[in-house]
Structure formats: C-alpha cells, structure tokens
C-alpha cells in the first residue's frame, strides 16, 4: 500500500460560522500503479485533504501514511517521496524553465549527474526543449503547466498527488497533462487525483471516492459504484448522491432548529 488514510479530519475556525469541518473522517487507500480519484464539487474538501497529504497542513485528527511514513511525524520523509501539483503551486517569474526544474531537482537531493540526465529525458518527453530558456513570466499557460509537471516528477517519486491539474487549461494542453498522468500510472506510480470533471474520472481513474461537505459519500471502482447504486452513468450517480446528501443535511438542520 502506498497511501493509507484513516479518519483524517480537519477543522478550521471561522469567526462567522464558528468551527467549520472541512474534512470529516476521510478514509481511503491507494496502491502503486493505481489512480485514485477524488471527485466532488467545489468546497468539498478535496484540496484540504490533499494538502494534508502533502504535509502542508496538519490534520486535526486521524492518520495518514505515505510510502510508510506518517505525514505528521515524518513530514520531511513524506515530502521527499511525493510529487505535488496544484493550482496554488506556481512557478517563479524570473527563472527559466530549465533553471526551475534544476533548482527543485537539487532541493530534492537528486545527484548532479543523474539530474542532468533526468532533466534531458523529461524535457524531451514533455516536449519542453523549445522553451528551456524562457522566463516564467513570459510563458504561456501550457508551458507553465509542463514546467510544473516536470518539477513534480523530476525526482521520480513513487507517489504523486494532483489537485485539479487541468484547471484553466484548454483542451489540447489538458489532454497532454492527462496522458502524462496515465503514463506515470503505467510506470507503477501511486497517484491521487482530484477533479470535478466527469470525463477525466471516466478515462483515468481506477478507483473513485465521491466527496461532498468534507465526507466521502461513496468509494470504489466505477463498476462497483454502478452496482451498488444501480446507476451506470457516473454523472447521474454523482448528482444523485449529492442530492441525497444535501437533502439529509437540510432536514438535519431543520430538525435541530437553526
């Protein structure tokens, strides 16, 4: 098992709303050579969960283990073994593509000669040789995404975490990104992938968890989910689950009195 998450919870304090539970006892696991998808609307808690896995946030309770390391106790070791990419991990404006990937490669401790080889390989595979020496501020969105991907995998981590990697991308660039993710899975990586786009889930994910309001509503392979809820269309299944959950929440609120 490469990722094990047990009852992960994160609560914040909002002055207005009081204590807000962003992630509520989430549990799942992910193996090597598998893409695990977190599917849910905005505000479901996907980003917070993934941030906890990347050790940037600390869980309020619960445990998570990545590649055998606990995210709280062995945070540095966890970071060494993951590649994390999200909308909030940007690239430096005043560094060229090559410099940036090299910088992070060095930070991840890749030895210098290996680093050169690896970077040549990456730049070839991702077709980035055209803009090796372009500054970050002058790149197009597609170039930036590729640089981010290169940065994410430069140290060949066994575990990869992608938080809405195709957000804001056009169809062509998004396709490239998704193909990269698929090939990484084929190389035996353990990948967690969050999105709210149905098509991506259908094409990529081996197993899915549907999240809403910080809780997992359903989890399993697409086939299992279809059987369980008697619904072949993933999209319909998704909306039905969300609707049910909203209804329960609404009636609970009314029963308790606001």
């Amino acid at each position: 098992m490469s990722i094990e998450v047990q009852n992960l919870t994160k609560t914040f304090l909002d002055l207005r709303r009081g204590e807000v539970t962003a992630v509520d006892r989430v549990s799942f696991s992910c193996r090597a050579g598998e893409i695990f998808g977190l599917l849910g609307p905005n505000g479901a808690g996907k980003t917070t969960t993934l941030r906890m896995l990347s050790t940037v946030l600390k869980p309020t309770s619960g445990r998570a283990t990545i590649a055998g390391f606990d995210v709280v106790r062995d945070a540095a070791a966890v970071r060494q073994n993951i590649g994390y990419m999200s909308a909030s991990t940007g690239i430096y404006d005043r560094m060229t593509a090559w410099e940036l990937v090299e910088y992070f490669g060095r930070l991840y401790g890749v030895p210098r000669d290996r680093l050169r080889e690896r970077m040549e390989f990456l730049f070839d595979t991702l077709q980035m040789n055209g803009f090796r020496d372009v500054l970050g501020s002058k790149m197009s969105t597609g170039m930036r995404q590729k640089v981010s991907i290169a940065r994410t995998i430069v140290h060949d981590p066994p575990v990869l975490i992608f938080d809405e990697p195709t957000a804001g991308l056009d169809v062509l660039v998004a396709r490239v990104v998704l193909e990269q993710i698929k090939s990484l899975r084929d190389q035996g990586k353990c990948i967690v992938f969050s999105t709210h786009i149905m098509r991506e889930v259908e094409k990529l994910c081996d197993r899915i968890a549907i999240v809403h309001r910080g809780r997992i509503l359903a989890m399993g392979t697409p086939t299992e989910l279809a059987f369980e809820h008697c619904e072949l269309d993933l999209e319909e299944l998704f909306f039905e689950l969300i609707r049910q959950d909203d209804a329960t929440a609404f009636s609970l609120e009314n029963a308790a009195g606001s």
């Binding site: 940037v56 946030l57 309770s61 970071r79 940007g90 430096y92 005043r94 910088y103």
Partner: protein, 767 residues
C-alpha cells in the same frame, strides 16, 4: 537543518532579487545618483547663503567718539581690526533707517545699536553706562549678527581700557592679568569626528540597514505568498527552518549592501562638497566640521554593518512572514521605524554613555558602541564589545526563531482576507473560551498592566503640599492601590471572563508540602546571593535617583507587621497572581515551558521599570517560574516572594535596632555577634539593601541553592496549562509522579497527557 539546502535557497533568492530590474535600480543606481545631486544642490545653496551680510542700524552714530574708532571711515562697516578674523567685518553692514524698530520685527534688519548722546563725556569721565542694543533671538540671523556685534564691541571696550591705562602710565596688561592660550590636542578630524560623525553615522547606519533589510524581506515572504510560489517551496523537502534561514541570508546581504552603498556614496559626495566649499569660504571653524571621518571610522562602520544587518534582517523576516500581502507588509515598516528611531536618537543625548544597562538594549547598545569607536575611545569600546555584540546576536537569533515559528503556523501561512468585525471577534473570545488563557490574552493582560501603571500611576503620587505623615500615608495608599487595582485586578477579571477554568489558570491549587519547603528555603538562601549581585550591578548602572531611596525609607517606617503586609505580602500575592498565574498560563499555551518561563521572567523584570532592579527581578522571575510550573500551584511562589521581600524589611528592622542600641549606648549583645558573622562589612548606617554578606555565607548559600534548583528542575511539570485540566481535577494528581520525570529542560510532557496532542485550542487559529 542541512547547510546545502540553506545554501541552495539563499543563492536562488539572491539571484532572483538581482534579476529584478527595479530592485537593482533602487539599491545600486539610486544612491549613486541621488547623493551627488543633493550634494551639488547643497553647495549652490551654501554659497548663496554665505554671501548675505547682515544689516545693523546704528542710531546716534554722530555721537560716537573718534578714538578709538568703531565705524570705518566709509561708514558701511565696523573697523575690521575689532573682529578676531578681520574678514568678518564684511558680515555686518551698517545701514541707516528711520523705521528701524519695525524693520527689526519684520526681519529686514537684524540688530539696532542705540548710541547714547553723552557717550563721549561718559567715557572721558570714566563712567560706566548701559549701551542699548535691540535684536531678535528667535531669528537665527539676528542672533548671529548680535553675537558678531558683541564681539566687535567687546574688543572696542578693550581698546578704550588700554587707552585709559596708557593715560595713567600703568603697565599695559594692568586690566588683563592673563590671557588664556588654549591648545586643542584634537585634530580637525577628531573634532569633526566627535561632534558630527560620531552622532550622525550610527544614526544613518541604523536607518539604512533597517530599510535595506525590510523591503527585500517583505518581498521574499509576503510577496512570495502573493505570487503563489510559497506552496511550491513548502512541499519540497526543505524544512521550514531551512527556508527561513535561506531567505534571511539573502535579506542580510541586501541590508548590508544597501547600507554600504548609501554610505559610500554619501562619503564620496561629502568629500567633494567639502573641497568645493573650502574654495568658496575662508578658513575657519565651520570647515573643520566637514572634515571627512577617519579611515578607522570607515572600518568600524563596515564592521558594524554585520550585527545591525543581522538584527534588522531577522526582525524584517519575522514581520514579513506575518503579513499576508506586500501591501500589509509595508505597513509594518512604520511601527518598526517608530520603535527604532528613539532607540537610536537616545544616543545623541548628552548624558547617555556606554554602560551595563545600555549595552543590552537592542540598537542603542550597538549605536553607542559605534559612537565610542568613532570618537576613538578604544579602551571603553573593548570593555563593552562583548556585552553589546552578544545580546544583539541573541536578539537576532530570537527573532529568527520567531520567524521559523510563524512559518510553521498554518494560520499565518494561509491567512485569508477577513472582514474585521469587532463584535464577532469579542463574542468569539467569550463564547469559545478555553480552559486556559491564550498567549495573546496573556500579553494583552501585561500590556494593560503596564498602561495602568504608566498612565494612572501619576494620579497616585502624593501631592506636593502635605507634611511628612500625609505623604507617607499617600505613598502607602498608592502602593496598595497599585498592587490590587493595577497588578492583580486585570488578571483576575480576564481570567474570570476569558477562561472556563479560572482557578486553574491562576494556579490556585493545593501544592505538595515539599514545594512549600523548597520555596521557603530557596527564598532565604537566595537572598544573600541577590544582594551580592545587586552590589556589582550597581557599579555598572547609573545610580538610583535619590528620591527613590527616600521613598523606600518612607514606606519602611511604621510597625513591622504593617511593613511586611505592604512590602512583602501584598506584592507577593498580587504579582504572583498576575505573572505566574494568568500570564504564565497563557504563555505556556503558546511556547514550550522553558521558553515561557524565560519570557515571563523578562516581563516580570521589565515591569519593575527600574534599571537596577531589572536584572535581579528577571532572575527571580525565572526562579518563580520554575517553582510555579513544577509545583502547579501559586502558593510556593507566594511563599518565596513573601520571604524574599520580607528579608529586606527584616534586615532594615535589624539595622534600626542596632542603630538604636548604638545611640543609647546599649550593647546589642547577641544581635551584634550575629551581624558580624553574617556580614562582611563593619556595621554602619547604610541603606538596608546594600549590606554585603560574608563570603562563607555566600558560598554555602550558593551550594545549597544550586542543589535545590537542580532538584526542582528535575521535577515533572504540574502546571495545569501544561498537563491539562483533567490531571488536576483530582486534588493530588499522584499519576504525575509515576510518569517519567522531565529531567532537564527539554521534554514536553504534552505527549504524556491524556489530551489529544493534535487538538488545538480553537482560539490559536485567530492570533
């Protein structure tokens, strides 16, 4: 923390900043262009300024005697020989005007000289007379002109005296027994160094390293958050400490570079300007002012760049880490300036010299040391080199640790914009109160206490027009009010309002007897050591003003039991409630126990607002903190505090008794023997706090105190804020002893407590 990661981050940030064109311009090009422009403007200005002569109106010019001559034959200026430097005659121009008085007020003329009509007769008759001159001291020009005129008139007076002496055939130096022939051993460089550069350069250096550190710090921390690259760095294997130190080094480089470039440019400009001005102005006193600083001074400045840059960079990084955008970060510069400026301007005050107290004050110590070096007082500088440098570096390290702590806090790194709503926030404080106060509440309480004492303390002072008994009563009353209302009350009120377990927050629990015994013992045996330390400290500090000693004497009058209540019991209870109760509990929520104890000690020491007491009070605060955290109760601390203060009172009573016996000629007998054994100076009438103890007594006390403190430190923590309220809800929490003792300063026993280690006090999120 690995050096390789730090180096990687440092070099990248450095290269990144240097690639920013605007940064390069501000740091390198601007100083090189700016100062020469100012210098050229200054030269033009000064040249113009120098050439304006001042107008003097002489009314009654016709009455002046022909000999000795006052006004030159042309009638335009005074006789040049009357001035020390003859060319100065050109600076005063004599005009005639009918409307002289109004012109004086409006500033058109600077001085009016009214010659009395009978002046010739009065001089001839040897009569003294008053010579009226009118000038305007509020106007700088008029004042200077008057002084020049006075110089000329004084010399004219000497000429008259000389002619009278000649007339009487007396020796020529009859009226002038001697003339002072001063020889100034200072070179012009030393004069200008002492007068100008020693004051100006430390100030400039502080300002430049501060601003040079602050802007890059804001860009590297808050700016990176804004640009969205902070998270990319945070998910890399680099630890938070490595990230902070890497950025810190970059900011240091920029701070030093900014200060060095600015100062070099200023120096070059100053040198050129001095040469230009020397061409325009005749030699004289003003020019020595502009002698450039010696090479040694330049060396010292460059050396001092390092500690100042280190300190300001650390502070800048910490504040910038706190800001969530560059805009917010830049707002923090103003308060930082407002705090730093007085610290550096105080070095310009005449009475301020390098001593033990000032060397530990941040910024002031370094500025004073630099001033001493520039003035060439190397002996003094060497003596205070370490006392200044070590604290400065310590402060830098503390600021860096604070920055690293901020980087570890999610609420700081991922702060989102929130609409401030005071009502909601206040309601949240009260509604969501935890069992113990938060760190911010503790500091707020301390702030309130300070303000109450500063602002309302004045009202408690006795009025000036009462007799001694009345003054004593007023003084005692003010002591009582201060302790109860200003020290204890804020803590009590805040504990009641803001915590659910006020009793535990204030450490009102029953301690085990052994702690009471140890506290008593420590207080008694620590007393001689404190007195001894006090003796040595007094030497390094400015002496306590007389009125404080008199006040103490006043309060010490009256029956012994009342003195004990006033000086020992009341402060013991109130100060313990505040410092070891509320404030320490709050600090313990925010920092590790050793840090909390150290900080509470400093707060306690500073509260006494008395340089002499500051050090002893801080150390006592540490001891009291150790006692409170290990015993989990306020009572041992109160005992310690009470005994410590009582000893001062009792010693005074002891002395008074011996005084009386000596006065009455009675042999004090046994008491006298005790005195001689305890103290190492012969009995005499001294203020009670300064009797030094005998050396064997000190050694014995030192050993026992060390043993007692070591034992105490090894005890497990019992303070409710550390071990949690559950552990304290039994009267004697025996389980605490079965747990492994904390042994030394390091262990955090939160891991052993029944409370979930990951649970956070929800209020921590909003600080």
């Amino acid at each position: 923390m690995t050096w390789s990661n730090i180096k990687l981050i440092f070099l990248r940030e450095l290269r990144d900043q240097l690639r920013d064109r605007r940064t390069l311009f501000m740091i390198i090009v601007l100083p090189i262009l700016l100062y020469p422009s100012i210098g050229i403007g200054l030269v033009q200005f000064t040249v113009l300024f120098v050439e304006q002569p001042r107008q003097v109106v002489v009314i009654g010019r016709e009455h002046l005697p022909d000999f000795p001559p006052l006004i030159e034959s042309g009638g335009e200026r005074f006789v040049p020989e009357l001035f020390d430097v003859p060319e100065e005659a050109d600076k005063l121009r004599i005009v005639s005007d009918n409307d002289a008085k109004n012109k004086l007020e409006s500033g058109d003329v600077q001085v009016i000289l009214i010659v009395p009509p009978e002046i010739k007769e009065q001089i001839a008759a040897g009569q003294g007379f008053r010579w009226q001159t009118l000038y305007n001291s509020a106007d700088e020009k008029s004042r200077v002109a008057y002084l020049r005129l006075k110089e000329a008139l004084d010399n004219w007076k000497q000429q008259i005296i000389r002619s009278r002496i000649e007339a009487e055939a007396l020796p020529p130096d009859f009226a002038n027994p001697f003339v002072l022939a001063p020889q100034d051993i200072a070179t012009p460089q030393q004069v200008s160094g002492g007068l100008i550069w020693a004051k100006l350069l430390p100030f400039l250096l502080v300002v430049m390293s501060l601003t040079g550190a602050f802007y890059p710090a804001v860009d590297l921390c808050a700016g990176e958050k804004e640009r969205g690259t902070m998270e990319t760095l945070l998910i890399s294997p680099a630890g938070r400490g490595e990230i902070v130190v890497g950025k810190y080094l970059t900011v240091c480089v920029f701070s030093m570079a900014t200060a060095a470039l600015n100062l070099a440019s200023m120096a070059a400009t100053g040198w050129v300007v001095a040469r230009q001005l020397s061409g325009a102005v005749p030699t004289g006193a003003p020019l020595t002012m502009l002698a450039p600083p010696s090479m040694a001074s330049a060396g010292w400045i460059l050396l001092f760049l390092i500690p100042l840059a280190a300190f300001f960079s650390a502070l800048g990084i910490a504040l910038a880490a706190f800001a969530r955008s560059t805009k917010e970060g830049q707002y923090y510069l103003t308060p930082l300036f407002l705090v730093t400026m007085p610290l550096v301007l105080v070095t310009l005050a005449p009475g301020v010299e390098l001593n033990a107290f000032y060397s530990v004050v941040p910024v002031t110590g370094a500025a004073l040391l630099l001033k001493t070096l520039i003035q060439g007082q190397y002996g003094l500088a060497l003596e205070y080199f370490l006392p200044v440098m070590l604290p400065t570096l310590l402060y830098a390290v503390l600021a860096l640790r604070w920055a690293i702590d901020l980087f570890n806090r999610e609420e700081v790194l991922f702060r989102e914009a929130e609409r401030t709503d005071l009502w909601l926030w206040a309601r949240h404080l009260i509604r969501d109160k935890g069992p113990f106060p938060s760190g911010a509440e503790a500091m707020f309480c301390y702030g309130i206490m300070l303000m109450l004492v500063w602002f309302l303390g004045g009202f408690l002072a006795p009025p000036g027009n009462v007799d001694e008994a009345g003054r004593r009563a007023a003084l005692q009353r003010s002591l009582i009010v201060m302790q109860i209302a200003f020290v204890a009350a804020p803590s009590l009120i805040m504990a009641a309002m803001l915590t659910t377990r006020a009793r535990l927050s204030l450490l009102i629990t029953r301690p085990r007897v052994k702690y009471l015994a140890v506290a008593f013992l420590l207080a008694v045996l620590l007393h001689p050591i404190i007195v001894e330390a006090g003796q040595h400290i007094h030497r390094g500090f400015p002496p306590q003003p007389k009125w404080i000693e008199e006040q103490l004497r006043d309060v010490l009058a009256g029956p012994v039991w009342w003195q004990l209540v006033l000086i020992a019991l009341l402060p013991a209870v109130c100060e313990e409630i505040a410092f070891r109760g509320f404030i320490l509990s709050g600090l313990l929520r925010r920092m590790s126990p050793p840090t909390a104890i150290i900080v509470s000690g400093f707060l306690f020491g500073f509260f006494h607002m008395n340089p002499q007491q500051l050090l002893t009070a801080t150390v006592l605060g540490w001891v009291l903190g150790i006692i409170a955290t290990r015993s989990g109760s306020l009572l041992p601390g109160i005992v310690f505090h009470f005994v410590n203060n009582s000893l001062a009172v009792l010693m005074s009573t002891f002395q008074n008794h011996l005084d009386e016996s000596a006065r009455n000629g009675v042999d004090a007998g046994a008491l006298r023997t005790i005195f001689d054994r305890l103290f190492r100076q012969p009995y005499s009438d001294r203020v009670v706090f300064q009797v030094p103890y005998a050396v064997p007594v000190l050694v014995l006390c030192g050993l026992v105190v060390t043993a007692a403190l070591t034992w105490l430190i090894k005890q497990p923590y019992r303070s409710p804020a550390i071990v949690g309220e559950a552990a304290h809800d039994g009267e004697f929490p025996d389980e605490l002893d079965e747990r492994s003792p904390s042994g030394g300063f390091g262990l955090n026993s939160i891991a052993n407590s029944p409370i979930n280690p990951l649970a956070q006090d929800p209020r921590d999120a909003t600080v």
